[in-house]
Amino acid sequence: MGDLFVLVISCIFINNILLAQFLGNCPFLGTSKKMETAIGMAMAVIFVLVMAGAITWVVNEYMLKPLDVVYLQTVSFILVIAALVQFVEMFLKKSIPALYAGLGIFLPLITTNCAVMGVCLINIKEEYSFIEALVTSFSYAAGFGLALVLFAGVRERILLARVPKPLQDTSIGLITAGIIALTFMSFKGMV
């Protein structure tokens, strides 16, 4: 239990997927201009990552490993994730439109979000158990969400400031992200 807690803290803060591992930057910059979008995206990432983490772990453990075709990881994972996301999107759109409006519209963004794929690969690489894989997936996603929401808060203010023209938008967004990464170094060594 204690180990899991350490894992959670480390995944959320110390090895934050965005700020320390550089994964998932495109949607990070894209969806952080507004707080509502950021929250929706954060939720969607958590949702998808947990599912993807589970399903890729299963694929790896019960299909790739027994057949000794681990080198097919990339192809099979991405295909499974893409299909899963698309399926969930269609499902939500039809069955739970309310949820779709809040969260589902972010799903297509996630297919090609390297955070999802990256976390799945990390899970395999670190040889986590199924439970650990689920927990890390969730924590990484939560870390992503946390960074996204905090970033959106700062960015909403920056959008209103008189940022010099060439720096506007993505450029200042990246620099802010850099400073956020800097502040996240606070947690270094805490676990």
């Binding site: 495109c26 969806t31 099979s76 519209i105 090609t112």
Partner: protein, 697 residues
């Protein structure tokens, strides 16, 4: 190897089956355009646009929240194909561009020192802004701040300058400007823009019936940009060559320079640039909007018809012109003599209009050769009636039908048509309008010994253009004022010998302030002439109404002057799909009125075809003036003489129909353009420094 193959086969099959089943089971309807637009997008789902994935972005584009250029990955082709998907509405595919009305020149003085929020909007609500000039640019640059693309900057003269390369037509600058100085419009919208009372307009531009932006083209001329000047004129007037010759230029009467000095010779400048184009040997290309697939029939190829057809064509409609006479041009061709507007010039100009892709059918008379029914059957969506006013008023006196009596327009038309008419030696032309003068001067050129002009009132009241009157005086026409014809006297062969008229005197001024002529009893006088031409006015020939078998035609209402009854603001007639302008609608009037009317009718037709309410232009400035633009004095003007119209020597011109008025030499044109005060391009201090202090103190 085999296991890998099988595994992937399995995964692929499962994914494929699940997805295809899901797409059937969980099918939800959405706007098919969303899928189409999404196909045009990059599909990378990168989120770079700020939307959650390409389908969200597509939905935003379809709902109109975002421009077609939203996606940062798909290139120009993508944008174009999206625009195509979205371009179901007319004009959407046309690129809108920003354009500022108030430009260049010096700034108006401030009425106070402003301290506060540095934004035009904020300043505009404080006493209308600190500038003394109330209509122009404030200059704090809200538009510059609003532009996301760096396309707007404050130019060296303190006004916004738009870089057309960078402008994407988003409209942010327009929203930011509190004074409507800067607008984002497509070419169509710009062509169909009518003066409104909050536009910064110089008095000349307010006066021009065609609403030409006069100061702009004068400035372009001054800068040597003749082509641009012609384009500026063509935005409002398709016939600069003709207008440059025959327009009575009401604009010049309002010219602000005229308050202290002689007005600028605006019309000659127009003619200069128009002639420049004609003589340059190549036509300036005229841009048209993409085709809309709508078809309009223009009946009558005179100035109003040509104008209406020209503008309809430029905004993308298909136009056919039907003309009763053998050639297009209407009154310009048949009513205005060769020495004022050479046919060669007119042909060149009309050809330019037809080159836009307008078909013309001549020698077909409305109501005789074709009618409303046949037009409708041919699939025209609307009809423009610009049949002009070709029916001369009769004098209503005895002897009017004698041999040697003619009516004005009929006479001019026959001469223009090349008909040989049996002429006399002396002639009396009855009337004081331009037609009368034209008849008189034509007669002189036809070799008559003596031409009299008989007019009921005095020279002061003559409606003909002053220059024309002066020219005819020079050419030796004798004026008989205060004379009311009472009888044409003929000999036994029914040939005209004399015109009898009654002398008149001016009575007490009436309500309108004019002194009405009153006949002097018993003052009958005989004038020995062998030709009498009556040119006392015309009305439209409305015979088509009864000749047309289409029963709907009965619904077309006429006024008591036989003009087609219409809404003067929208030019829509009593049958909704019929529009009319020009002399047919107003009775005999100026060419430039007809041109302006044609454009207004084109706007209404466009609205009608789009299914929108045909409503007048909001806050229109037609024939009104912006209160504060009218000055009673203009300080600091150094008087300089107005450029003189070069003209043919009298001796030369009497023997021929060679054009009398000549074009200004380039140097003179520039000199004349320099005389322009740049009203509304510069902010002026009117004589009122600030209203409250005027006389109260």
């Amino acid at each position: 190897m085999i296991s890998a193959l099988l595994l992937m086969l399995g995964i692929g099959a499962v994914c494929g089956i699940v997805l295809s089943l899901a797409s059937k089971i969980f099918y939800v309807y959405e706007d098919p355009r969303i899928a189409q637009v999404e196909n045009c997008l990059a599909g990378a789902n990168c989120g770079g646009c700020g939307y959650a994935g390409c389908s969200a972005a597509a939905a935003a584009i379809v709902s109109g929240k975002e421009p077609a250029s939203l996606c940062i990955v798909s290139g120009k082709d993508g944008v174009e194909s999206i625009a195509k998907v979205m371009g179901v509405e007319v004009g959407n595919a046309e690129a809108p561009l920003s354009y500022n009305m108030c430009e260049g020149g010096f700034r108006a003085a401030d009425k106070y020192h402003y301290m506060g929020v540095s934004s035009c909007k904020a300043m505009a609500v404080v006493f209308g802004g600190k500038r003394v000039c109330g209509v122009g640019c404030i200059g704090l640059g809200d538009c510059v701040k609003a532009c996301q693309f760096g396309a707007v900057s404050i130019g060296p003269k303190g006004h916004p300058v738009v870089d057309e390369e960078k402008c994407v037509g988003c409209g942010a600058c327009q929203k930011a400007c509190p004074k409507n100085i800067i607008e984002v419009k497509t070419l169509s919208e710009r062509i169909m823009k009518f003066n409104q009372k909050y536009d910064p307009l110089a008095p000349c531009a307010q006066t021009c019936p065609a609403e030409i932006n006069i100061p702009r083209y004068i400035n372009q001329l001054r800068e040597g940009k003749y082509k641009e000047a012609v384009q500026t004129i063509r935005l409002r007037n398709p016939l600069p060559l003709a207008c440059g010759r025959v327009c009575p230029h009401p604009c010049e009467t309002e010219c602000r320079r005229g308050v202290e000095d002689e007005p600028v010779s605006i019309n000659q400048l127009k003619r200069f640039v128009a002639d420049y184009e004609m003589n340059s040997g190549s036509r300036i290309p005229i841009k048209c909007a993409p085709d809309t697939g709508k078809k309009i029939a223009v009946v009558g190829g005179g100035p109003s018809g040509l104008s209406c057809a020209f503008f309809l064509r430029r905004i993308g409609h298909q136009v056919d012109i039907f003309e009763a006479m053998p050639k297009l041009g209407g009154m310009l061709r048949y009513g205005i003599p060769e020495y004022r507007l050479p046919k060669k010039v007119l042909d060149w100009e009309i050809q330019g209009i037809l080159d836009l892709g307008i078909k013309s059918f001549c020698h077909v008379k409305f109501g005789v050769d074709f009618g409303l029914g046949s037009l409708m059957a041919a699939g025209y969506n609307a009809v423009f009636l610009g049949v002009g006013a070709w029916e001369d008023f009769s004098l209503g006196i005895e002897g009017e039908n004698l041999d040697g009596c003619f009516t004005g327009i009929n006479f001019l038309q026959r001469i223009s048509g090349g008909e040989k008419i049996k002429l006399g030696r002396t002639a009396a032309v009855v009337g004081g309008g331009n037609t009368a003068v034209d008849c008189a001067r034509t007669l002189l050129r036809l070799g008559l010994d003596k031409v009299y002009m008989v007019y009921r009132r005095t020279r002061k009241e003559m409606p003909a253009n002053e220059v024309e009157i002066v020219a005819s005086e020079h050419e030796g026409i004798e004026f008989v004022f205060l004379a009311a014809p009472t009888r044409v006297v003929g000999d036994d062969k029914n040939k005209v010998t004399h015109l009898e008229y009654l002398k008149m005197q001016l009575g007490e001024p009436d309500k309108s302030g004019r002194r009405r002529p009153e006949p002097i009893e018993g003052s009958e006088t005989l004038l020995a002439v062998d030709m009498v031409i009556s040119a006392i006015g015309q009305s439209p020939d409305a015979s088509f109404k009864n000749q047309d078998p289409q029963h709907r035609m009965k619904e077309l209402e006429l006024t008591k002057w036989n003009t087609i009854d219409n809404n003067p603001a929208t030019h829509q007639a009593s049958i909704p799909y019929i529009f009319t302008a020009g002399d047919a609608a107003t009775g005999p009037s100026l060419v430039v009125e007809a041109i302006g009317g044609g454009r207004r009718a084109a706007r209404s037709i466009d609205l009608f075809l789009k299914g929108e309410a045909v409503e007048p232009v909001k806050d229109s400035l037609q024939k009104k003036r912006i209160h504060e633009s009218i000055f009673t004095k203009v300080d600091g003007i150094k008087k300089t003489a107005r450029a003189k119209q070069p003209e043919l020597h009298v001796n030369e011109r009497l023997d021929s129909f060679i054009e009398v008025d000549l074009v200004l030499p380039e140097a003179d044109a520039h000199k004349e353009a320099e005389r322009c005060l740049n009203c509304c391009r510069i902010c002026y201090n009117p004589d009122i420094v600030f209203p409250m202090a005027k006389k109260a103190g």
